[in-house]
């Protein structure tokens, strides 16, 4: 997909000391997002606050909606009004968004949603970290669908991946999630925002042909139809109902198969282009530690200790968590003795690792019921167990 330089107006170039939440807001502005609808929820609110403060002077609009259902609803409307749009939330808010997430998926509406995860279930530990929404975000809305989710492990990556999230969202006309957590969200680190011309931005792919020929959908399972902007005379229709290329309801099982296959395949068939991983000392490793987000930084310490103890341990960090890197995991599962999967939940992504490894190696879950990051020694113990 074509990339252009970012609009310098939204880009706060330079070196900053920012927390992850604020870096997400800067990433959104750099990516050309000019509409933000949100509802306050710990520990994500700082993103909304930053956007609210910054947007009037860069030509954007912030609205605090009455709840998260309304926030994501407003994004659907604003995206078809021509804007790049985002919201931010945490577990309980994500739960509320799930129905309209389905609407966004079904209408193929681009948007970015950051989930600064906290410990649950329910109100749980609102001010403490978790990675417990990993499956909710993937499966929580009803029906079959795909989304894209990225998981930053630092404020710098919060910035970088938010820009990337917008680009993916425009490329595939799909909601893209930033799955971060309270620790990264509230951690202050150096964040370097490049000059605008060094930031690649995918602009909205707007339809250019004759008005009467416009079709909001094409069910190719590979790419997506261009969009239009309400008010430009295309008189488009979109619906959450099963629909044809014109966007009109087409309520048959055959059409639903076309639509659902497309929604899934446009992501699955492009998975190799979407998925980003970071691997370290994977060749010749006996044990591979698979992690994402803040947990990968704890893993660094655990692996360092393991190597000092003479264990050949490699790491694989999922920068893209959804779609899941099943091919790479399957390949590596044939080469290592075991995989260790620490995550700040009772075992979620480990199921994907296990499924992808398909019995070729042991897969050891290192769960944590959330509220804190792991003690590196707990991960170390699992690595030691895995190496025997």
């Amino acid at each position: 997909m074509l990339r252009t330089a970012a609009d310098p107006k939204g880009v706060l170039s330079g070196a900053h000391f920012l927390d992850g939440d604020h870096a997400i807001a800067e990433g959104a502005l750099a990516a050309g997002c000019r509409f933000f609808a949100g509802y306050p929820i710990t520990p994500s609110t700082e993103t909304a606050e930053r956007f609210a403060e910054r947007c009037p002077s860069v030509g954007g609009l912030f609205i605090q909606m009455e709840d998260e259902i309304a926030s994501i609803g407003a994004l659907v409307g604003a995206a078809w009004g021509g804007q790049k749009v985002m919201t931010v939330t945490s577990g309980p808010g994500l739960s509320l968004m799930l129905e309209n997430l389905g609407l966004a998926v079904m209408t193929e509406t681009p948007m970015v949603i950051a989930d600064v995860q906290r410990a649950g279930p329910s109100t749980g530990l609102p001010t403490l970290p978790g990675q417990q929404d990993m499956m909710q975000v993937r499966w929580g809305s009803h029906g079959d669908y795909r989304i894209i989710a990225l998981s930053p492990d630092s404020p710098q990556e919060c910035f970088d991946l938010t820009v990337e999230a917008f680009n993916l969202s425009e490329t595939y006309r799909v909601p893209v999630f930033i799955m971060t957590d309270e620790t990264v969200g509230h951690m202050h680190e150096k964040v370097v925002i490049p000059p605008a011309e060094a930031i690649g931005v995918v602009p909205r792919n707007l339809y250019q042909g004759p008005k009467e020929d416009y079709r909001p959908y094409q069910f190719t399972g590979k790419d997506v139809a261009p969009m239009v902007r309400a008010g430009d005379g295309y008189r488009f229709h979109i619906t959450g109902l099963t629909h044809d290329e014109r966007g009109y309801p087409a309520l048959t099982p055959a059409q639903n198969e076309k639509v659902v296959t497309h929604l899934c395949e446009k992501i699955d068939s492009n998975a190799d282009k979407i998925i980003r991983l970071e691997e370290e000392e994977v060749d010749g490793a006996d044990v591979l530690v698979v992690s994402y987000g803040i947990t990968s930084r704890i893993v660094s310490r655990a692996v360092q200790l393991a190597r000092e103890a003479g264990i050949k341990a490699g790491t694989l960090r999922l920068i893209t968590v959804w779609p899941f890197a099943e091919e790479r995991i399957r390949e590596l599962a044939g080469k290592v003795r075991a995989m260790v999967v620490p995550e700040i939940n009772y075992g979620q992504m480990v199921r994907e690792v296990e499924r992808s490894a398909a019995g070729q190696c042991r897969v050891i879950s290192v769960p944590h019921c959330a509220g804190a990051v792991h003690d590196p020694n707990v991960i170390l113990a699992a690595i030691k167990e895995a190496s025997t």
């Binding site: 000019r34 509409f35 609808a37 009037p56 002077s57 030509g59 954007g60 609009l61 609205i63 909606m65 009455e66 709840d67 259902i69 309304a70 926030s71 609803g73 407003a74 994004l75 659907v76 409307g77 604003a78 995206a79 078809w80 009004g81 021509g82 804007q83 749009v85 129905e99 309209n100 389905g102 609407l103 209408t107 902007r229 309400a230 008010g231 430009d232 005379g233 295309y234 008189r235 488009f236 229709h237 979109i238 619906t239 959450g240 109902l241 009109y248 309801p249």
Partner: protein, 333 residues
């Protein structure tokens, strides 16, 4: 003349062809349902007002009324149950050139979507909300709604409704709506005129249209067919001027007070945003790249346009009165 030819003629030559997606006809609504009448009024109002249809968008939720978005030849979004207002809010704010109209039913807008409705009214969001109130959830089979009058029978109140209903004009008024009216689907000219007024109103306008659900509400309550419903409206619905919205509740088959209850000028949400930011940030504030002088010029032109449209409506009204037409259906003056 063959049926096929009739259909083709209907599609191409219907007076609604310009306004409806004729390729989607016939619609799904039952015989005697009032939704189609309201859509007709809407089309008529748009036509009369000369409003640029490219700048008009319709957003709807779920239910029978939710299907309106799919039939009108406008930019249109058919959303989830109760969520038309937030989607419309996003659309209107993302492209302030648009006039966004929400078509809804009673269950959709004040049942599941009640929270969004009251907040959009509170913000004076520049939206027109048309609620076709038939006192029932039609699409799901006739369940009780927040507007069902007490004692009325519904599939989930098989022994008669015991809940206190909302009076929608009172709710809208109390929440801050700046245009509030109620009619019935029988009073097509009033509905048309009211929609036309709302098209030229800047801010949150709410028009309730009491309308029959013949298949469920009428039948379940043994109230006869669509004609019987319209007879009831003719007998019991009265236009009242200067009425307090606290006094317009509707009892089962009781009086229906109609009229334009509220019309007041108040800055819209976006007006308030613009004013606040322009005051604090001066020239630095440029929503979607528009400078303050550019915006003020645009607002001035729009206000002139609205004033002109209003004057034109008043002239027409005076002419009609002079010709002694429409004297029996006043109430908008």
């Amino acid at each position: 003349m063959s049926t096929a030819l009739d259909e083709a003629t209907f599609r191409s030559e219907s007076p609604m062809a310009e306004f409806l997606r004729m390729e989607r006809m016939p619609h799904i609504w039952c015989p005697g349902c009032g939704i189609g009448s309201v859509v007709n009024c809407f089309a008529e109002a748009v036509k009369k007002s000369g409003f640029d249809m490219d700048k008009l968008a319709v957003v709807s939720g779920i239910g029978c009324s939710g299907r309106v978005a799919g039939y009108v030849k406008l930019d249109s979004i058919h959303t989830t149950h109760g969520r038309a207002v937030p989607v419309a809010t996003g659309l209107a704010l993302a492209n302030p050139e648009l006039k966004v109209v929400v078509f809804s039913g009673d269950g959709d807008i004040v049942g599941i979507g009640g929270n969004h409705f009251i907040h959009a009214a509170r913000r004076n969001m520049d939206l027109m909300v048309i609620c076709i109130n038939n006192f029932t959830y039609g699409m799901t089979g006739g369940q009780v709604t927040p507007t069902t009058p007490q004692t009325a029978n519904a599939s989930t109140t098989p022994y008669g409704n015991y809940e206190y209903p909302f009076s929608l004009p009172f709710l809208a008024d109390a929440c801050g709506a700046t245009y509030v009216a109620r009619w019935t689907s029988l009073h097509a000219r009033n509905v048309t005129k009211s929609i036309r007024e709302a098209l030229n109103h800047k801010g949150f306008s709410f028009i309730e249209v009491i309308s029959p659900c013949t298949t469920l509400y009428q039948r379940r309550n043994r109230l006869g067919d669509g004609m019987d419903a319209l007879s009831y409206y003719r007998e019991e619905a009265e236009v009242e001027k200067e009425v307090d919205t606290r006094d317009v509740g509707i009892d089962f088959q009781g009086d229906i007070t109609m009229g334009r209850f509220v019309r007041r000028e108040k800055p819209t949400y976006l007006d308030a945003v613009n004013e606040r930011y322009a005051n604090v940030l001066g020239d630095e504030y440029q929503l979607y790249g528009m400078t303050t002088p550019e915006r003020e010029e645009k607002e001035r032109r729009e206000a002139e346009g609205r004033a002109k449209a209003r004057a034109q409506m008043e002239d027409e009204e005076a002419r009609l009165m002079a010709e002694d037409l429409g004297a029996d259906e006043e109430g908008l003056g």
